[in-house]
């Protein structure tokens, strides 16, 4: 049985502060239509697909913050996306800011969901590695207040049996941490779906070149793919949002680490690749056959400590 999935990576251009959810969803549906025309089985949208990247502003009014969050999914604004995808029989994933009610209290997460071809939400992931900071930082060129608006996700990096394969999700900064891929790799992941919103410049080092930032993105997803023998679908929200540019560089990465499709613009753009999940096997059974080669007895510090402990 063939396990080739035609994946559409649906990069999104910028969303302005004034843009409505309906405007965002309408653009998502347009990309979905294109993916359907191109015969895609699965479409991946970015992180925080429904709004601008609001952690760049310092807000203290929680009601103002909550306007960027969704209390239900699907909801009125996103239902048309679910309906269209179901009509096409296309599975999809996208990210959004989630308000969850757990044990009677409200929690805020940076979340992505996996939706099957019948429109059912079959997986949910909440971002683990929140970058940035929790308090206004006057030393930055612009703010990155994810640690203020979101709690650390409580899902961990689980995987799902999906579309005859094993799928995982992570979000944005998670992709820079090898632990992300490894935890999913240890569960046999064959395709990691991830979205990102990454500023084109470094708020703490304005001299950092844009091509270096793209390179950091690339080597992170490429090494993660290769070292776990998995496809990685890494999709940007890109372009200038309210004066702040987000990088593009959406990519579909083969288990060899090679990029097989890459976006060329900073706007709404679909990249497509036929992803054969069976191409993971060679890597998983040879150089990265974990069972034969890994040595957890020498990895203890990875889970025993959080930060750096230097030798005397």
């Amino acid at each position: 049985m063939s396990r080739v999935i035609r994946v559409g990576g649906a990069q999104m251009g910028p969303l302005q502060k004034s843009d409505s959810r309906e405007a965002a969803v309408s653009r998502m549906i347009k990309l979905l239509d294109q993916a359907h025309e191109e015969g895609c089985n699965l479409v991946a949208f970015p992180e925080l697909t429904l709004t601008t990247f609001f952690p760049r502003w310092d807000m203290d009014d929680q009601d103002e913050v909550d306007r960027y969050f969704e209390e239900e999914m699907p909801n009125a604004a996103t239902q048309p996306l679910f309906d269209r995808a179901k009509e096409y029989g296309i599975a999809f994933t996208f990210g959004y800011a989630e308000i969850a009610r757990e044990n009677g209290t409200r929690h805020h997460y940076n979340t992505s969901i996996l939706v099957d071809e019948a429109g059912n939400i079959v997986g949910k992931y909440r971002k683990t590695h929140l970058p940035g900071h929790a308090d206004f930082d006057p030393d930055r060129a612009f703010q990155h207040l994810e640690k203020k608006y979101f709690e650390v996700g409580n899902t961990g990096f689980r995987v799902w049996r999906f579309m005859d394969g094993i799928f995982g999700m992570c979000i944005c900064n998670d992709r820079r941490w090898p632990e992300t891929y490894r935890v999913m790799g240890l569960q046999g992941v064959e395709m990691v779906l991830l979205g990102f919103n990454t500023p084109s410049s470094n708020s703490q080092r304005q001299s950092e070149r844009g091509d270096l930032r793209t390179f950091h993105n690339d080597i992170s997803v490429q090494a993660g793919a290769y070292q776990n023998g998995t496809w990685v679908v890494s999709i940007a929200k890109a372009g200038v949002e309210d004066g702040h540019e987000l990088m593009g560089g959406s990519a579909i990465v083969h288990p060899s680490g090679e990029i097989v499709a890459k976006s060329k613009t900073l706007d709404d753009e679909l990249i497509v690749a036929d992803c054969d999940l069976d191409e993971c096997t060679f890597f998983k059974e040879t150089i990265f056959d974990f069972d034969r080669h890994r040595r957890p007895e020498h990895y203890g510090l990875i889970t025993q400590q959080t930060g750096v402990v230097r030798p005397d």
Copy 2:
């Protein structure tokens, strides 16, 4: 105080089965002379610098195997290298096959040592991730019997205060495993020294392109450097040994993941870079500030299990 170290990466060309230790050491000394002329403070030689890469042959006579190993270090063959380096005040590292006597028994390791500018061995590392296989494999184009000739190292990935910085070592296949760098990163490593002997073709997939193999080498060392904010000095034994080609691609990698010096040949070749250990700091204090960003509570599988456990 400046913490700039001028590093010489001393790539070695091939060593034939018939080549003596003395011939290898004489070439190492020539590279050391060159490094001295260029003002290097530290010289890094490859894995198994003293002999040909013998795991490509299947041997059953342990005496024959043991001829590729060193029972003492330094020994008569390598003493001239230690003497010359001490004369120059140059620190160095190189790899060799080690027979160790521990608790009254002989053990075989794939080992590297760190030698200070006064000629003292101050660090020893024994390879953790042995690639290949333990028994003759008729399905391979050539053998890679590291699991037959070596035991898994018992040192783990420790680091050393050295030359006013924090140094670590790993060997060859270790560089493909993100755990390697992370365990050292958690100890504040600022420079990882590693050597490799890597065949230019894949014994289990002869169609694999040479440039893909070089790419795998590159992304592994580059991601390891970037994701831990550390220099990585990655040095090959290269060229055609008894009809089998080893890849080159020795590189000195900046904490940004960028390669600042790279070898161009498959022969004895010195690459040089001024490595400022203080350039690690920005990465360690911002995007890879482990204490603020890591989430070990979600990394459990990394140390709880060795191989893959797929979901039901």
